[in-house]
């Protein structure tokens, strides 16, 4: 099976860029602006979009590499990418350590003696830093990159199978997901529990994205254009929205019949609850229906900021994590007035766009430089 088309689908960049913005906004604690993000209106959030599109683009980029250069070369490139992400994660951890050490040193309040216990890990760095390096200790909001690292680290054989027997690869992925639910499998975390994003469950969305990139989406076209499916998707989104309303107005909770409540709760984010998958798929169905691949507006200036962020997803993601630390720092040290929250959120997004634009420019300059233009598939058309 060949990668669907050679031209990059700008919708992927657009929605990945938007997902990166939403992840940034969600990661700032107590941020008033985060009420706009999709997690408040249904079951899934930006993480699903990010993982699916990452799977899609990884298959798109490395699939071609595998067909042209074989499994060894493509596998090496995938691992190199995983390594880059690992290094980025460790770099972010260093920044996190700096922030938390500052707070530990400067903050004291008898009201919060219990909460300050979270800083205790600074007392035994020999354990925690090692646990962080093996990805077992992950500070708050630093769970996505480790998931991405694991997904990419295991991707080469999956891609190999996807190129030969796509259906079998997808069934195997679903089987792993099912077994994970049946037997409560997860990667261990430090000091206790498992990974917040269980890679054994979340791989399903990544592999599904890859499957779509390698021709699956084309096979689904007939279904995707059916109004009945779009109707179902809309109905499901409305249902999820109504349930989400009861989270913010607990009084409305009494209108949710017990049967429905018992059926849907708890909605398990760690193991990628089926309700979350369905919510993401509904969003995807509606998006694909209303935003065609060749929609002229995709090339307009209005969407450029999100698209450029989506094209440099690793850098933008890491910057977003750093900026959310910084934004929280501003809220605690300067002001957390609502207009400051809006201003800081907007500034953060602007910095992300500016940096992505700079990276784009630099990449263009590099290509036009004295060296002949390179066409390494791993980098052509953006990041995986």
């Amino acid at each position: 099976m060949a990668p669907a088309k050679t031209e990059r689908d700008l919708r992927l960049d657009l929605f990945r860029g938007l997902a990166l913005w939403l992840i940034f906004l969600d990661h700032i604690p107590s941020n008033a602006v985060s009420w706009i993000t999709i997690r408040n209106y249904g079951f899934s959030d930006a993480t699903e979009i990010f993982v699916f599109i990452s799977g899609y683009t990884a298959a798109f980029v490395y699939g071609r590499a595998m067909q042209e250069h074989g499994i060894m070369v493509a596998g090496a490139r995938v691992l190199k990418r995983a390594w880059q992400i690992y290094v980025a994660h460790v770099f972010l951890f260093a920044i996190y350590l700096a922030e938390i050490s500052y707070v530990a040193h400067s903050f004291d309040n008898p009201l919060y003696t219990e909460e300050m216990g979270v800083l205790d890990f600074l007392k035994n760095p020999d354990v925690t830093i090692l646990q962080a390096l093996v990805l077992k200790f992950k500070p708050v909001n630093m769970d996505v990159l480790p998931l991405y690292i694991v997904l990419l680290a295991g991707f080469a054989p999956v891609l190999w199978l996807l190129l030969r027997a796509p259906s079998i690869a997808l069934i195997a992925s679903a089987a792993l997901y099912t077994l994970t639910w049946l037997f409560d499998w997860n990667f261990p975390a430090y000091p206790s529990g498992g990974w917040i994003f269980n890679p054994l469950a979340w791989q399903l969305l990544f592999v599904f994205g890859a499957w779509c990139a390698l021709g699956g989406a084309r096979n689904l076209t007939r279904w995707l254009n059916s109004p009945a499916l779009v109707g179902l998707a809309v109905a499901y989104l409305v249902f999820a929205f109504l349930i989400a309303l009861t989270w913010y107005f607990p009084r409305l909770g009494v209108y949710v019949p017990d049967v429905v409540g018992d059926l849907i709760y708890p909605i398990d984010k760690t193991n990628l609850d089926v309700l979350r998958i369905l919510h993401f798929l509904s969003l995807a169905v509606i998006t694909v229906y209303f935003v065609p691949r060749d929609w002229p507006a995709l090339r307009s200036k209005a969407f450029w900021p999100a698209i450029v962020c989506g094209q440099h997803s690793l850098e933008t993601f890491c910057l977003g994590v750093f900026l959310s630390f910084a934004a929280h720092f501003v809220f605690t040290e300067v002001s957390n007035r609502v207009f400051v929250q809006f201003a800081v959120s907007l500034m953060g997004v602007l910095v992300m766009v500016g940096t992505a634009a700079l990276l784009s420019w630099y990449k263009r300059v590099e290509r036009q430089g004295p060296r002949p233009p390179t066409t390494r598939p791993g980098y052509a058309g953006g990041d995986a």
Binding site: E114, P250, N336
Partner: protein
């Protein structure tokens, strides 16, 4: 996160249950958050105990139910609750036993709960939990299972239960992932029909309105004491409202 995001909307909601007599007795700084205190769930054992003029309460919790210092015990919310209830129910003998120790997870508290129940024979168990579980990253299923077990044990011993969630702590907000633990607490509370005292939203509101400066780095206990005093009083309001015989419980359709 629940209660956090739609803060501004929450502010617009009319203050519920602030009848003239109750409002008059609450200090203004406590009262601003009164509408966030849920009181729709009845507490039958408490009702009976008040009628019998003897109410025994057990507070089981972790570090955020404590205040340091020589006056810590007197200023922390369990004792403030007792004193507020004593004012509200003159003639009722009110005792508050406490089992609060820092750094305990829900499961660790469930393990000692039977002894506490046997020792104090409470009509009401107030259970503050969630923060330590979040700090240690305890598995959600395990956490929710521990809550279920604790509620069942307290009920088997003839006590009502009130749950208290985490404090709002702006400085450590980005370091402790309270979110899903708060949601689990809320969900278990709904499922088991146990009132949840939403301490997080209450304190968040105080922080946002500037009622109390929750950001300051200080060793002084004055603000901490006032926060605990208000929490004790609001808890008392919740219990008063739930224990009013004329207060009709929220009608649940389909039941």
């Amino acid at each position: 996160m629940i209660g956090r995001t739609l803060l501004m909307l929450a502010l617009l909601l009319p203050a519920r249950a602030a009848t003239a007599e109750t409002a008059g007795e609450l200090p203004a700084e406590c009262r601003v958050a009164q509408h966030l205190v849920e009181n729709g769930v009845p507490l039958p054992q408490v009702l009976k105990a008040i009628a019998a003029k003897r109410l025994s309460i057990l507070v089981i919790g972790a570090g955020s139910s404590l205040l340091p210092g020589p006056n810590g015990q007197k200023d922390a919310y369990p004792e403030r609750l007792r004193s507020a209830l004593a004012e509200r129910f003159p003639g009722v003998e009110i005792t508050v036993a406490t089992d609060v120790k820092a750094r305990r997870t829900a499961l660790e508290m469930v393990k000692v709960l039977p002894e506490d129940l046997a020792a104090s024979k409470p009509n009401l168990v107030i259970w503050q939990t969630g923060t330590v579980d979040a700090m240690q990253g305890v598995d959600q299923d395990e956490f929710s299972h521990a809550l279920d077990k604790g509620i069942a044990k307290a009920r088997a011993a003839g006590a009502d239960v009130v749950l208290i969630n985490s404090q709002y702590s702006p400085r450590t907000d980005s370091m402790i992932a309270l979110g899903s633990y708060g949601e689990t607490l809320r969900w278990v509370a709904v499922q088991r029909e146990v009132p949840l005292f939403d301490r997080f939203s209450v304190m968040k509101l105080w922080g946002d309105l500037g009622t109390f400066d929750l950001y300051s780095a200080t060793k002084k206990l004055d603000i901490a004491g006032r926060v605990h005093d208000c929490i004790g009083r609001l808890l008392a309001e919740m219990i008063v409202a739930a224990a009013k015989p004329e207060a009709p419980p929220v009608q649940v359709p389909g039941k």
